[in-house]
Symmetry: C2
Subunit: 161 residues, 2 copies
């Protein structure tokens, strides 16, 4: 099936990543993290939580950079209440996404996107997917290169205008 | 802004979760995980990788249950090649998603969805989001309850036909 797998590449440089480490994996913790952010009107973009280990797991989310100072203040309190071991953040990150309606049936898209970034020595910091999109967090300094490489990999015209 | 935040709730019970623990956080590892799956035609649904710690991180992905035996065979070899400490899996999981085009501007949707699941004692096993969707992995036995609760929370009619 030669159908077009990826129809576009998107990116967003205005990203700051915030990670809460070693949260207890019990009901109520995720709500305790995002409730206060929503009350204060902080726009959350990516949210990633992976499988827990020994009853603990990390939650990471991304926000716009202007919201970082307020978010870190809120998270200091949240970490105290939930028992997270630390709050980490990183502003030198950017989000790159490969978008394609037929993607669900082609796990090859992920493999090709990851292999393309690898060939340029671009480390994948975080991954999140939906049925039609693969979103990767990388270091901001690589975003133009990553966008160009992914356009080439999937045969798309590009203009980083 | 009272616009409709969530327009639909989706779910999928045919999910098996596979986690590779303690992968080295260096370029090439994600491609080494998904390359062999794509070569063997295994359909990968969710992919989640969170922030690394001390140079290592976990990668989790979901597949359909029929693909689990073959996937575990492939992952045993991948774990050996990449240096992952173990391969874990769980077939008693299900995916639930809240979908809404306006969601990007309302981190409150995540907080409300998580709080609603919490009130029913449903533990959130994994989280992945896109601009218009929040996807949560839960234990399969709670999927009907979760779908009903989320419909109620966002004021949607529902019919688990
Ligand atoms: C870690 C967090 O997601 C927890 N499992 C919860 O349900 O809130
Ligand atoms: C862990 C894995 O994603 C690694 N960072 C890579 O780029 O392949």
């Amino acid at each position: 099936m030669e159908a077009v797998l990826v129809s576009g590449i998107a990116y967003d440089k205005d990203q700051a990543r915030v990670t809460l480490r070693d949260l207890p994996d019990v009901p109520g913790v995720a709500a305790a993290v995002f409730g206060p952010l929503s009350e204060k009107g902080v726009l959350v973009d990516m949210i990633v939580q992976n499988t827990s280990l020994d009853g603990h797991t990390d939650i990471t989310f991304t926000i716009t950079r202007k919201d970082l100072p307020q978010t870190l203040e809120i998270m200091t309190e949240v970490a105290r209440k939930t028992g997270a071991s630390e709050v980490m953040h990183d502003v030198s990150v950017a989000k790159v996404s490969a978008i394609g309606v037929g993607m669900r049936n082609h796990s090859g898209v992920a493999a090709r996107a990851f292999a393309a970034l690898t060939q340029e020595g671009i480390n994948i910091l975080m991954i999140s997917t939906s049925e039609i999109k693969i979103t990767i967090l990388i270091q901001e300094k690589y975003v133009e290169l990553a966008v160009r490489i992914l356009h080439d990999t999937f045969g798309l015209d590009w203009d980083i205008g």
